[in-house]
Amino acid sequence: MTLALLFAALLAIGCVVAVALPFLREPEPESDDLDELDEPERRRLALLEARDRALASLRELEFDHRTGTVSDEDYRALVGSLRRDAARSLQALEREGSIRSTEMPMNEERPAGERIS
């Protein structure tokens, strides 16, 4: 009984320490704000996803055409629009990049905890 309660007390203390750890490690941080994506970053993420989607679709179409799953006729009908999609998403990313570069240097990582918006 006593041993069980002792174990239970140790467990509870351990858990409290684990929960309090972020506050014990940084009692007075420079910033306690969550590091969230700002609006331009979210826009860029959407564009990157669109780019990856377009490029993956193009790769899959090329392979399906090579295997014969997609006929020459269907390939010709589809490849143009897929290439245009890929080109559009790349251009959109470039535009976004040039806008960003006027706001902050490209590829600069923000320190954890710093909010931009």
């Binding site: 239970a8 972020p22 990856d52």
Partner: protein, 664 residues
């Protein structure tokens, strides 16, 4: 040590509640340290639940009957393996297992994704915590595994049908599946709450969903094999409510795994995918509720308890909150693209989704109908096998056909001319197979004949896809044919692993149809020396023997088996009388033919004191393909689950490009 178990669960409840409240506050107010603290609370909740689990396991192994749970589910004579399986054999233990797996999965999923999707994770934590609060509340307040009593000299023992090696794996796998579906649910809700409805929640949960789906699938197959060899009624799936309880979330997750590909490829079906995740999770809760509440009459419902209303209330809250949230976020879930043609791969996936969902909801209706009819008319009307079989044929056969059609249709749109060219070989193979089977007499079951024809079609498309893909990889520079084959799979694990899973479904369909539509059955009361004939088998009843084992008295009838005049040896079938549990179980005799996949299945239905036995005998063609399908399914799932280095690099590149730390 019961106090330690109780205290540990109380700590889990406290930590989960803290993770819920602090996590929600941190996400709402944008507080970093508070968010990390809530994440730590979730991890600590796993640690404290683990302590509780160890206490229960130790009590089981020590046969400490002062624990009410241990006394109710085990006995001194119970073999150690089944004593361990008693952990999940009863209600309180299985709820503790739910909580243990939930907090474990939550801690790992949050840790793995806390850097690259940190703005999403802050909202995922309180969702996980909310589910953990519910389950820890149940095991602390409603159904504690640590209730104590004055220790009786021996326990009540375990239900005989649960004393089977399959019970060591079947329930934990189902629980891994049920609980695993919490991960996509938590991330989907986290995405809705945070407004981050980009692809990250899908990427973070893809493998978790696949894992849960695989565990549910394998768990169900093991359960079916357990029913086949242990329950002793001559079948493996009875459309029992508890069996259906595991099938429904699996069907919803299957639909999700297909439709999520459309979102990834085309950015479509975003609302649909969230809806499927909510449905799969709600059905996994409903499955636990059905199994554990005792609300429905089932051979698998081993408990009658008071947790039903709590579960129903929680399911109602989950559905209301998540659907409400989804509706509130509809503008964010708008798809940037539209379906271009009804003849395209995405359209085929959509049809597949609609059929899977229709089948799932039909089964759900069959499960809840007795409850509704009892509530409305005061009489529980159970929908029988015919109801389920009808809808399985209605929705299952087109689904089987779509498995062959989908992979051969181009994304976006396909021309009729192209389709005719692409499908000529699979269609030819299917028609020839159908014609040959018709000549061989398979026309006695039209649905069976159609299923076999469709199976041949799907098999041909799978072979064609692997063959053409390997040839293409060889042409692209692979040094050898095996090299080309492995490179084909390695470069697109999801696609080709998916085909392997499709092959397993074909095996499953062939096995189910063979053993149900083309089986034979014979029943006869035999005295020693008398015989029974079925198909081309002759069985001669020779003797009846009795022996006392550790925890049961075993009575076995021995039969000589001949086939077409050839001696196949002997087969034993009988019953076990469990002394402590005061129950009797059927112990069936099965002779499998490894070449044809056929089983001769003997049940000693009634054993009379004068030594006569009433036998029921089945011949089940191709039934072993069902179990073989499990191995192929596992192989396909493993291929799909295996980490893809190129995909990881692409994701790392993407996160680097927006300036978020790439470490996942």
């Amino acid at each position: 040590m019961a106090e330690l178990g109780r205290a540990a669960l109380l700590v889990t409840l406290g930590l989960s509640t803290y993770a819920l409240v602090a996590g929600a506050a941190a996400a709402r107010l944008g507080r970093r340290r508070l968010a990390h603290s809530a994440q730590n609370a979730l991890v600590a909740a796993f640690a404290s639940t683990l302590v509780a689990a160890v206490v229960l396991l130790a009590a089981l192994l020590r046969n400490d009957f002062s624990f009410t749970y241990v006394a109710r589910t085990t006995s001194e004579a119970l073999p150690t393996a089944y004593t361990i399986s008693a952990f999940w054999g009863g209600q309180e233990g299985s709820l503790l297992l739910w909580l243990l797996v939930l907090t474990g999965f939550g801690a790992v999923a949050v840790r793995l994704n806390r850097r690259w999707a940190r703005d999403l994770i802050v909202w995922v934590v309180p969702v996980f915590a909310a589910v953990a609060v519910f389950f820890s509340f149940l095991v602390v307040v409603v159904a504690s595994p640590f209730a104590t009593q004055a220790a009786p000299p021996d326990g009540a023992g375990m239900t005989p049908s649960l004393q089977n090696p399959y019970m060591l794996a079947h329930p934990p796998l189902l629980y891994l599946g049920y609980v695993g579906l919490t991960v996509p649910f938590a991330f989907a809700l986290g995405a809705l709450l945070s407004g981050r409805t980009d692809e990250r929640w899908l990427v973070a949960t893809r493998r978790w969903t696949l894992f849960a789906w695989t565990a549910l699938g394998i768990g169900q197959l093991l359960g079916a094999h357990w029913a086949y060899v242990e329950v002793g009624w001559g079948g493996y799936y009875a459309w029992d409510p508890v069996e259906n309880a595991a099938l429904m979330p699996w069907l919803a997750a299957t639909a999700f795994l297909h439709s999520v590909m459309i979102q990834e490829k085309r950015g479509m079906l975003r609302v649909w995918n969230v809806l499927l995740v909510i449905l799969a999770f709600s059905l996994s809760l409903f499955g636990t509720f059905l199994t554990r509440s005792g609300v429905v009459n089932s051979i698998h419902s081993f408990t009658q308890s008071s947790i039903g209303p709590w579960f129903l209330a929680f399911i109602a809250v989950v559905v209301a909150v998540s659907v409400g949230l989804m509706l509130a976020r509809l503008p964010l879930l708008r798809s940037p693209t539209r379906l271009e043609s009804p003849v395209s791969r995405e359209a085929a996936f959509l049809y597949n989704n609609l059929l899977l969902l229709a089948l799932c909801l039909t089964i759900l209706w069959g499960v809840v109908y007795p409850l509704l009819s009892e509530a409305v008319r005061g009489e529980a009307v159970v929908l029988g096998r015919e109801y389920y079989d009808f809808f399985l044929r209605m929705f299952g056969l087109p689904l089987l056909l779509l498995m062959g059609i989908g992979p051969l249709v181009a994304w976006r749109r396909a021309s009729l001319k192209s389709l005719l060219t692409t499908f000529r070989w699979p269609t030819g193979v299917a028609l020839v197979t159908g014609a040959v089977l018709l000549v061989l007499g398979a026309g006695s079951s039209i649905p069976g004949l159609v299923a076999y024809t469709f199976s041949a079609f799907v098999t041909a498309t799978i072979v064609l896809e692997f063959g053409r893909g390997t040839r293409a990889r060889k042409a692209l520079g692979a040094t050898s044919w095996p090299g080309a084959f492995s490179s084909l799979i390695a470069r697109n694990r999801r696609r080709y692993g998916g085909y392997v899973v499709h092959a397993s479904i074909v095996l499953l369909a062939v096995g189910i149809v063979g053993s149900s539509a083309f089986d034979s059955v014979a029943e006869k009361r035999l005295e020693p020396g008398q015989s029974l004939e079925i198909a081309d088998y002759t069985l001669v009843y020779r003797s009846l023997d009795e022996r006392v084992a550790a925890n049961a008295t075993e009575i076995r009838a021995t039969l000589d088996v001949e086939r077409g005049g050839r001696d196949l040896g002997t087969l034993q079938a009988g019953k076990n009388a469990y002394t402590i549990e005061e129950q009797v179980s059927n112990e069936v005799g099965i002779r499998s033919d490894p070449l044809t996949g056929e089983d001769l299945f003997v049940i000693a239905e009634q054993i009379d004191p004068d030594g006569t036995v009433y036998f029921r005998v089945f011949v089940k063609p191709l039934v072993n393909l069902i179990w073989a399908a499990g191995l192929v399914f596992l192989l396909g799932s493993l291929i799909t689950l295996w980490p893809d280095a190129r995909e990881q690099r692409r994701l790392a590149e993407r996160t680097r490009e927006i300036g978020v730390p790439a470490t996942r």
